[in-house]
Symmetry: C2
Subunit: 287 residues, 2 copies
């Protein structure tokens, strides 16, 4: 009961209280102990990693790699799902000891699409939307953020598309808006744009609500997602910064290599992240 | 040519010079740059991890996990292999960018079995035999070690069998014998016997010629192999000790969980080891 009260207090709005899914609330990352030792941040997987797999297959891979947080993509839970389908979805996740902590990325070009997305998130029972809004609809997004008391994290996509290529492009657009407007920090795309992901994590920490954990083969448009252990980003430095800025969200591996047979790469990446966390935590203790 | 000369000098014996496979010599771990950053030790896989797989399948898993050293088991290269079959085997490994750096474990109860094993190692072209000798044949093993100028690493097996349960049982038996007699340090079995694997690594470093890298679920007979990231052994502390004692052999993952479908567990373990190495190396630089 205490944990529920705590969460309601944290959520801070009556809309949240009225519409949260109680089953989900108990499993919310804000309440459960961290799965990464003493760290505030959690390790998860971004649903897009499983674009070629059904939910059961995705959860089987999460079980094999011992990961417990999932950012929900619509191909696993369609936008038009009924209350019963949503409830069934959460039941399936619960059996796999997985918490769906947010939804998205969702592209939003119109007010109607924004309405739909916030209504979907409310029905799913999460407080975090990862979105890709057209710049002109940002004022309407802010209105909805206030109304629903949700956090809205804009996903960045590197040099591939002009819309939100890097962290600073998002920060510039939302810095004067509601503090619940922020960033889904795709550290791979930020790097591919030519920016320093670890420096940006420090600079924009207050507005970073979600992280797409990944590594890339080059700090340029040509860079491709690779195993976390094999890219140009210094992951130990990034993890040290996660701790320095006290990031308490999820680091969700978005694995976009070998997407039809991703298990080995996901497992190696998850292992690498855990190894970095364990070794650098020990280093801190000694220091 | 310099590298070949260096190796021959290191090997130190004329038998070695006469019988080494030149193709293998070039790919010998003693000569190639470390695959684990600046560290002296190399990361490999113990052949037994692939007991349910043919060589091609094993090499495919090594390719997927980017591992380049293999301790050769007889089910991949039978003891009675012809020179042509051995040559073919090395060719196959070379194509996969893998070096077979040793053979075994091989059980040896009689002088005849010892003769066979040393002859096999010579024909395969390696300088390291991982063996499980009956205690009474140790003097004959020592004789062969001198004759062939090979290193002989006795494998330990924890509380499961009485023969060589832990590191100290081997050290007690070989400490007054030739310095090329030593230990294949199975850190999992040593832990399952109730000993401190990291302390033993420090204590017996000079006699440790090979390591079976693994973690276990408990420091007792009930403990089973698990992903390197999930067991009771403090892997970051172990890696720090590898560096402190300047271990320059191979750490070969012996993965004995899910042996019919081991890829995810192998990948997670390899990733974890690399993560620990990278993060603690960075920690050392800062210190």
């Amino acid at each position: 009961m205490n944990t529920r009260r705590l969460f309601i207090k944290k959520a801070g709005g009556s809309v949240a209280l009225a519409t949260m899914n109680p089953a989900l609330m108990l499993a919310n990352p804000a309440q459960s102990s961290s799965r990464t030792g003493e760290d505030l941040f959690k390790l998860g997987i971004a649903g897009y990693s499983f674009v070629n797999f059904k939910l059961d297959q995705a959860l089987d891979m999460m079980k094999k790699t011992d990961v417990h947080y999932l950012c929900i993509k619509d191909f696993h839970l369609p936008y038009n799902s009924t209350a019963e389908q949503i409830s069934q979805f959460h039941e399936t996740l619960k059996k796999a000891d997985v918490t769906g902590y947010g939804v998205g990325p969702i592209y939003m070009k119109t007010n109607q699409e924004i309405d739909n997305a916030f209504d979907y998130a409310r029905r799913v029972g999460v407080k975090l939307i990862v979105g890709v809004p057209n710049p002109e609809v940002l004022p309407y997004v802010e209105k909805k953020v206030k109304e629903y008391d949700m956090r809205y994290a804009i996903h960045i996509h590197g040099p591939d598309i002009k819309l939100w290529p890097n962290a600073s492009s998002v920060i510039d657009a939302i810095k004067s808006l509601d503090p619940r407007m922020g960033l889904c920090f795709d550290m791979g795309h930020d790097t591919r744009f030519g920016d320093d992901a670890t420096a940006d994590l420090e600079k924009y920490a207050k507005r970073i609500f979600d992280i797409h954990l990944k590594n890339v083969t080059a700090a340029s448009k040509e860079g491709k997602t690779c195993e976390l252990s094999r890219g140009v980003i210094d992951i130990p430095a990034f993890v040290n910064m996660l701790r320095k800025v006290k990031y308490d969200g999820v680091c969700s591996l978005e694995y976009e290599k070998d997407m039809k047979d991703p298990l080995a790469g996901i497992a190696e990446s998850i292992g690498y992240f855990k190894g970095v966390c364990d070794a650098s935590r020990q280093g801190r203790r000694k220091a």
